[in-house]
């Protein structure tokens, strides 16, 4: 029996070298999109209240200074 013609016509071409960079670049972009999606779209209200922290003035963050006793200068806690 002769050799399998399907094997003979099999392509021996290699993928271009730059394709790896393109694929991994796209993968990184998709990763970024997925993280953004997780962060903001999955639960926007939770994302707003859990991920965003409103900080007070510099003096209150340092814990000393004239405004440090003012509770409105405290970081917002959720």
């Amino acid at each position: 029996m002769s050799a399998n013609p399907f094997k003979i016509i099999r392509s021996t071409d290699l993928p271009p070298a730059h394709l790896r960079g393109e694929v991994l670049g796209s993968v990184k972009f998709v990763m970024m999109l997925m993280r953004m999606l997780q962060l903001f779209v999955a639960d926007p209200s939770a994302a707003l209240f859990e991920r965003v922290r409103i900080l007070g003035s510099r003096s209150s963050r340092a814990g000393k200074g004239p405004g440090s006793d003012d509770p409105t200068n405290e970081p917002t806690r959720t």
Binding site: N4, F6, P16, R20, V23, V27, V30
Partner: protein
Amino acid sequence: MLPSDPGGVTFSERRVQTPNTLSPLLFRKKPAAVEQLRDEEIVVELQHRMDAERFGVLYDRYSTKVFQKCMAMTRNNEIAKDLTHDIFLKAFVNLSKFDHRSKFGTWLYSITHNYCLDHLRKDQKHRTTEVEDDHGVEDGAEDRYEAELLAIRTDRLPMVLEAMDPADRGILLMKYQDELSVKDMMEVLGVGESAVKMRTMRARERALVLYHQLFPEEP
């Protein structure tokens, strides 16, 4: 000075001489090189934590196979390149759906096969030749068809495959070029054993009918 220390340097002084950045490196357990991990182990890690570089290891292992499969299906280098890119991206996005019931290679092959088929079906320019298949197969005909198929001249086989329906072509390439087992074909096609055998048989018959249509002078 400690009596057992001939160098004249105390233990505490020696500790001071060790660079601070070196000690954690000395005592930390070295992680296994990614290149030494099995495909499925890398996938488990990727399912827990996305990492493009680790996915790059899988790309390095399978890019040639995927590209050559795309070439076999499309016979076009540029299209095969684009399809390879899209297939790996699709695999990455769907990694969480990989349930480890099959090998990663089979799973990726399945994505490759189906993606190429979708592409060929969408391609309006692609022509297929309809062949009637409403006839039964007599006993022993299967083996004869297979022998006849494998006896097709190498320069003519690409023309026959090109004229075939993409699904039939995919099955023949799966069976005779990639030499997938029936079990793997069941996994890729998502059908049972009898359906795989029936589809393979039909694809063989249609290929031979096309061959005789394209090259009627052949016996």
